[in-house]
């Protein structure tokens, strides 16, 4: 045993001398443990720095603007062309049927539209009469294409192809024709990332349109598969809110402009505390097929009224 130890010691010694000789010949390489430690400290420092300031993220997003984003645009157009071609063959019959149905709907709607236009004139007149400002006036919007999606399966964040160059800023609301999509969380010169309202970390202060009761709309990963969103903290003592009621963004939200459609209540239940209600709503936007969006170039904080 003793001799074995001795022997292993000498082997070790020889190995060390060999290693030293080798080191002299080869250039010095930092052991990976130390590199890992350095990267760990670096990352933790970056996390703290980016959490409290914007000092680092601005140049990095600048780099992304000229490296990743142009390629993403290219890839995305290839992908959409490919799927579009696939769908061409598949959906022709379906589309023809749909076209007929939609034609009927157009007739219905145009009739309704003329009626509503009449009402609108009347409304404008009355508003003028009472001196009310038009709160739901048309916001200035800019169209953008969705060019990339969050690489993981946990969050619903996507990248659009317009950025600060086009006048976009953090906290601007993103919509489609049918309702609220999300909010801008990061902006580069020619890109912006948008957190959609179905994202698990999304909270939107909203209200029920016809009763003006305020609710909070939370994204929930568990409901994404059904295409639903959860809403909570509805104080509805008289049970006036029912299934099918429309939910829109509220006046008291600090980031979302008021009166944007979110969706319609699909289920509603009393909470265990017996005071508030919660449930699910079906969003107006089809989040599985978003290709183009509109960004409202107006911030809630900048609104003066």
């Amino acid at each position: 045993m003793e001799s074995l130890k001795c022997r292993s010691g000498s082997v070790k010694k020889r190995w060390f001398t060999m290693a030293r000789v080798k080191l002299k010949r080869k250039k010095f390489v930092l052991p990976s443990r130390y590199i890992l430690a350095i990267i760990t400290f670096f990352c933790i420092a970056m996390m703290l720095l980016t959490f409290f300031t914007d000092a680092v993220s601005a140049p990095l997003s600048g780099i992304a603007a000229y490296t990743v984003v142009p390629f993403e645009r290219g890839f995305d157009s290839i992908g959409s062309k490919f799927t579009a071609r696939m769908n061409d063959f598949k959906n022709l019959k379906e589309v023809l049927d749909k076209n007929e149905a939609l034609q009927n709907r157009v007739n219905e709607l145009s009739q309704l539209n003329s009626q509503l236009t009449r009402d609108r004139y009347e409304l404008e007149e009355l508003r003028e009469f009472y001196g009310l400002s038009d709160q739901l006036s048309d916001y200035e919007t800019v169209g953008a294409r969705v060019i990339g999606k969050d690489p993981g399966n946990w969050f619903s964040v996507f990248v659009i192809d317009k950025g600060s160059r086009d006048g976009l800023a953090v906290n601007m609301n993103v919509i489609t024709g049918s309702g609220l999509v999300g909010i801008i969380t990061e902006v580069g010169t020619n890109w912006a990332s948008v957190r959609s309202i179905i994202d698990d970390s999304s909270n939107v202060s909203a209200m029920v349109l016809n009763t003006e009761d305020s609710v909070v709309v939370n994204g929930d990963l568990k409901l994404i598969a059904n295409g639903d969103i959860r809403f909570e903290h509805l104080l509805d003592e008289d049970d006036k809110v029912v299934k099918g009621d429309q939910i829109v963004t509220s006046n008291i939200s600090d980031k979302f402009l008021p009166g944007i459609n979110i969706g319609y209540i699909s289920s509603i239940d009393k909470d265990p505390n017996n005071l508030t209600k919660s449930g699910t709503l079906t969003p107006g936007v089809d989040f599985k097929h978003i290709n183009t969006v509109l960004v409202i170039k107006e911030l809630k904080a900048g609104k003066t009224d």
């Binding site: 420092a45 996390m47 990743v68 390629f71 969050d150 690489p151 399966n153 946990w154 990248v159």
Partner: protein, 167 residues
């Protein structure tokens, strides 16, 4: 240097594929994780330092575009995955496909678990069972499937790099 540039280009291409074309092949909203395959593969094929290099840049790209304002979280996770895969470098033989698949699967599971703990559990989303069944397992299975196709290509790139003597 040439090796590093090629690795960087690979990370770049995989990230782009992940963000764009993979949303077209996702099944039920679940897409495979190409960046984990890449990081893990370079870890066990080439060692800890190389794994960390690939992991670092993979994570950094995710952080810059999708980090929600915090840069460093995904960089850290991917770097550690590269490092730990590098520990199995000694057990790696190019002909044996079992170890790579095993390692990549474990890496993906651990990655998912860490992401769950850091971004979901800390926001008091406690239903771990649901997330395992509906996100983590499907992602891991899909990732294994892509690994079987993608790993051969990576191995070919790595052997040709080695043949040309790029260290």
């Amino acid at each position: 240097m040439i090796r590093k540039s090629i690795e960087f280009v690979l990370v770049f291409v995989c990230f782009l594929l992940q963000c764009t074309l993979f949303k077209f092949i996702s099944l039920g909203g679940i897409a495979p994780n190409l960046l984990i395959i890449l990081t893990s593969a370079f870890g066990f094929m080439k060692g800890r330092t190389e794994g960390m290099f690939v992991g670092f840049f993979s994570g950094l790209m995710v952080d810059v575009l999708f980090g929600n304002g915090i840069i460093g979280l995904y960089t850290l996770i991917y770097t550690y995955i590269g490092f730990f895969n590098g520990m199995f470098n000694r057990m790696f033989f190019p002909d044996d496909v079992r170890l790579p698949i095993l390692l990549i699967t474990f890496s993906d599971l651990i990655y998912c678990f860490v992401v769950y703990v850091l971004t979901f559990l800390l926001r008091s989303r406690f239903d771990f069972g649901y997330y395992v069944l509906h996100i983590i397992i499907p992602e891991a299975v899909y990732t294994i499937f892509i690994t079987i196709l993608f790993y051969r290509l990576l191995l070919k790139i790595e052997t040709s790099l080695e043949r040309h003597g790029f260290e």
